[in-house]
Symmetry: C2
Subunit: 438 residues, 2 copies
Amino acid sequence: MTKATSGHIRRFDSQQDDFRQQLDALLAWEGVSDTQVNDTVLKIIADVRARGDDALLEYTNRFDRMAVEQMAELRIERPALEAAYQRLSPKLQQALEISVERVRAYHQHQKQESWQYTDASGTVLGQRITPLDRVGVYVPGGLAPLASSVVMTAVTAKVAGVPEVIMAHPTPDGNVSDFVLAAAWLSGVDQVFTIGGAQAVAALAYGTATVPAVDKVVGPGNIYVATAKRHVFGQVGIDMVAGPSEILVVCDGKTDPDWIAMDLFSQAEHDADAQAILLCPDAEYLDAVEASIVRLLPTLERVDIARRSLADRGALIKVQSLEEAIEWVNRIAPEHLELSVDQPEQYLDRIRHAGAIFMGRHTSEALGDYVAGPNHVLPTSGTARFSSPLGVYDFQKKSSIIHCTPASASELGESAGPLARGELLTAHARSAEYRIKE
Amino acid sequence: MTKATSGHIRRFDSQQDDFRQQLDALLAWEGVSDTQVNDTVLKIIADVRARGDDALLEYTNRFDRMAVEQMAELRIERPALEAAYQRLSPKLQQALEISVERVRAYHQHQKQESWQYTDASGTVLGQRITPLDRVGVYVPGGLAPLASSVVMTAVTAKVAGVPEVIMAHPTPDGNVSDFVLAAAWLSGVDQVFTIGGAQAVAALAYGTATVPAVDKVVGPGNIYVATAKRHVFGQVGIDMVAGPSEILVVCDGKTDPDWIAMDLFSQAEHDADAQAILLCPDAEYLDAVEASIVRLLPTLERVDIARRSLADRGALIKVQSLEEAIEWVNRIAPEHLELSVDQPEQYLDRIRHAGAIFMGRHTSEALGDYVAGPNHVLPTSGTARFSSPLGVYDFQKKSSIIHCTPASASELGESAGPLARGELLTAHARSAEYRIKE
């Protein structure tokens, strides 16, 4: 039984008989690329591999309604990025600097160091950690200038020690955002190509005469970008293929309901597929949040998107207790979790799956999107069960180190031999046995 | 110009004009699933999702030539695993125990701990690290009983703290390997299902009435398994989709040529697509290794496979110096790198890309495959440029922690507001601004 008092957002009660099915239906999301998208993307990738810059120019002119004749027109180097920064208002310059500085400081804590040890057999064992050589960050173009996506991806790669960060950022109709370019300057991006879509992903993965091939492609994008990333996976590394953004708020009913309504809107305004859910043991408080939603929704700039998102994918859910709410948190494995309660630390040990946890009434998710420090590229659609925020670890890789002495090679060979023979791999066995001392 | 003195393996010289093209051709590998394989796999996945255990029984009876009627016949629990261990020879029992113990000890060093700190603004920031709930390890069936694959995947998951490890292992014609089951017992596998192929991957990813849904599927498999893993990626995590195994040996010409020949064979015997390459500055030594290959090849049990692998994908390459060899190592980014030289440490800082590095003349790759301790699931086909050995980090995930005080939320809101407005996301801005103190 679904209560929909205002028609703006669905209401559920965890005690209703069909709650689990209703929740499953609410959460269901499969990001499938249809055959048409797949075929288009495969054709574009093949074309960029075969014709390089020529294909890139053609697709960019066609899809982004540009009229460029050579790749030099699609490249922006650091002096031009700095000039864009200089054109920003001092207020925005300062906010961007604070964001870059805080993101850098947080991610320094994620940096891993190589290690090695000598075991009882005399064998040196270890793990060498090295940065990737070159990384591509994709930053969508179009209406919203996603400067924060630049910061979150490029600063993290630079903290990892990646020498070269290449940014792909389409500029439909030639509209360039100073805000985005300024973010690229402050984040240490080495060069920007104003290319986008599957053609940009293909160029980054395979390289062209002008665009250098990278080792990993990260960052958000539309269905063509996401599909292209799936196809080039293996040739290069990729981050997660993200689904729509989500927020799950757990509230004890004591936060200003306007705050919670606005926190839900801050997800819902992203796009119509975004998901905003509130869990609370207090039915009257849910009524109050719903009243806030009804009152505040018309005041939003992106009212139409937020309205559709809340109506199609949002929910206010009455639970029996905060303890029960935490169980649903683990079922949902949300991208963003707000614990809008007293002493949120007490619940932390029981939370197994969440991309980022915003603790207490004052920590709004929007702070984490821009300036708190942790990454805003987070696992969506329940993938927090098995994956992590984008981090320095995504831009470092490891090599195992094994160094036997003659004596330890002889000792280990005594075990490796029988195991290899057990697997019927006798050349393995003989290779180990050659090193056994008589 | 390609020298092929014996016809067993190609010879190149890095000084020949077309060397770079020849090397590119030698390394080229694209693991594509053709349309027939893709369609078959998609059909199987859809069928297992729709019909669960019934589909699983049907496919298992058909593909593995079994005649089982209920899922209980496809499940092996821990007492039966222990019984299998008891049937092994004491020598094999001991070798397996040493392997498990050494793999466990090494991987303990990879375990990461949660951390947090309070910054100057009073905000608590951190990263919580938790194990995955449940993991599926796939272990191929058929001729070679890959006990070491069980150890490398299951022990690593258990060190990470994964409470439940489910193993899928097909037993064509009902042939069960005590060696594999014993490895599962010692490695702490919680239960085994004797299922394989795309149907096993689908069952692990989506769950059936009998097979519990897991959060990640790891381990090697044939083209159907690899294709199914690609398709369920997103529903669950997966490790790399591996290509054929490879070894790159760098030798100064002072190691017994029979040892090096056998090290090359130990890759080549895996399958005809496996790749074994030797780089050496000493042409006469390459002649000696080739003579060893010619002499020893007929003595191998898996002579036909090794012969094809060496002829189709192997190479002996004359370089100018060991320094030059290291440059080619970085171009090749090998899965396994043997540095069969004096004082191999001196080259380590210049090696950027390799899955595992075997240092010195005595450290044969086979030791690493079974007992040295580091993982033998390694990035293939040049993917060491951006990925790492399977590790404890693959079975742990991270959640960001952000906890603002009222004062720090107010301070951060002053920056988050303008940034969100710069991105035209005004609900984000207002959500942050609500927390700014007057």
